[in-house]
Subunit: 375 residues, 2 copies
Amino acid sequence: MKLTELDTPSLLIDRDKLIRNIARAKASCAKLGVHWRPHLKTHKCLEIARLQIEDPTGPATVSTLKEAEFFASNGITDLIYAVGIAPHKLPRVDRINKSGADCKIILDSVEAADAVSRYARTAGTSFRVLIEIDCDGHRSGLKPGSPEILEVARHLKDGAALVGVLTHAGGSYSAHGDAELKAAAENEVTAITRVADDLRAAGFPIEIVSVGSTPTLCAAEKAPGVTEYRSGVGTIFDLFMHGVGVCEIGDIAESVLVSVIGRQQEKGWLITDGGWLAMSRDRGTASQAVDWGYGAVCDINGNLIPELWVASANQEHGIIARRDGKPISESDFPLDTRLRILPNHACPTAAAFDRYHIVDHGEATEVWHRINNWE
Amino acid sequence: MKLTELDTPSLLIDRDKLIRNIARAKASCAKLGVHWRPHLKTHKCLEIARLQIEDPTGPATVSTLKEAEFFASNGITDLIYAVGIAPHKLPRVDRINKSGADCKIILDSVEAADAVSRYARTAGTSFRVLIEIDCDGHRSGLKPGSPEILEVARHLKDGAALVGVLTHAGGSYSAHGDAELKAAAENEVTAITRVADDLRAAGFPIEIVSVGSTPTLCAAEKAPGVTEYRSGVGTIFDLFMHGVGVCEIGDIAESVLVSVIGRQQEKGWLITDGGWLAMSRDRGTASQAVDWGYGAVCDINGNLIPELWVASANQEHGIIARRDGKPISESDFPLDTRLRILPNHACPTAAAFDRYHIVDHGEATEVWHRINNWE
């Protein structure tokens, strides 16, 4: 199908870029001597997951239990649910595991370890658990060297089995330049391997030593002691990752196909049907060296039109302006002209759509579905 | 069902607040002597639409043709698709109308009028069309007094029938205080009635004179010559509308139920499972007098905890901090504590969910579905 036959807004994936990005992540992991446990939260799509994983069963990372249910029911059973477990979710995890999956959970407190152990004992079931480590003060997890880590390990019992440690260098998203990226990558490795060593020294077998973020996977040169990298957005890439310095504009595999629906004559803007519902409200590049507004504007063939940007957006209206403030030539963009908008952030942009249209050599050849929401 | 029995994150609607907000909009329209054509884009939900509309057939406003298809197939047939029509969408509109609906379209250029007329002639079909007017330089539409308005009217032929004029006072979202709100409401009415008068004087019958935004409906004192108001978010309300000054915190009918999943001990934060995917990336209140971060924090009963806010968010993690920077008392918020987060903007927050849980007297009594996406 020609792209002009798709209704707009529609979500596109360039297959060649997707394949290239996946190959790059696999090569990085091969160089580091680690498994790749791709984070499926960016695309939530079975076909893409299958292109990423080593084996039909995984490994893979999920961000919701709905993803876990979906991927497990499609044979991708070696999972980590990489969001600190809320005890009320344990019955749902248990059902996923009883269906044949190995959905591991993470936690970072004695309170959580006790809750998981208690539920496992009461329900006569078991969970495989990783302790979450905070390598850069970004979010959740225990600090390397914190005495609470050993305490948490000791409180995991009665079916709650400690199998590993996990960290996420979220701080790497604000790194500037190669030196800072490399430092974030090294710090992530150093932090997690120290914890793994401490736990092993205390007699706990640590099978999984899991790190990862797209910037640190791109920057890492060695990762001794690490068993796997998780990375999500690097399979797709986006303008924010371009701003971080880990991809080129030409690597961004996701775009939103929009149509010109009108003009604001006085201001010389184009109006499209790609508003913030289609692009998301993510304005991550506003804090970077180049602010891309609500997205970078490409022609239907995916070629960047550098003088334009999505300057503003309403729910179902995108406002495209010239960066220099001059009016856009009307005759260049008649009504119904299709444009492709590259997103600030691939994850929230895709979340507004239930499917991807896969683009090969300029044509939409397949439809791949996403598994959105939580219930 | 108790709210603690729901998995999180989940989207809640307080039925009493919803009913009250709907009654308020209806009373405003009754006072003004106009129809209410509620914009269904906020909730995209049949049950809520049925509480809003005057008659089983409408009137109502939609923002996507998927909404139009869904609501029309459920009997709500008097529709305006209030986004400038892209010519490639005309076959889809035509199918909706042939299924028994009266889905009106809007446009603002001779180019679009010609395209619609041409399609109607070629396909042997008809469309009912409103001309979009720009009352405040906000987005799309022709300026009142612009000679192009009459030209567009003259170019509508061969089945493309001019039935009305429409404007949206988008500028009212940045109004400060009652005087500015009232001025925006008056300006909207003055602008559209001038255009209606001009067209009637030129011999065009103008049946529908449509205005509306939540702030202007709340502020309008009279609307002579206007036949209907469209408003969307005012059925739900949100923190942004509270910042505009048109609702109280206690009027906000939508919240996201989240669970405490951990803590950042060093910084004294709570971590929840309500991240930006659940809350949306909308940070509209950042430009208002009170910045609510990613949302206002309430207890499970919906009572505001004013010292807290959602200070930051990742995809599946919400970070709750005290506004004064002091650490949050751990003992007050054990793991799995449920909190309700009020959104900056009801529309994008709801768009991440496929259903609402309706809350009556503190219990989840019904599930109402949403019609998301475009295809």
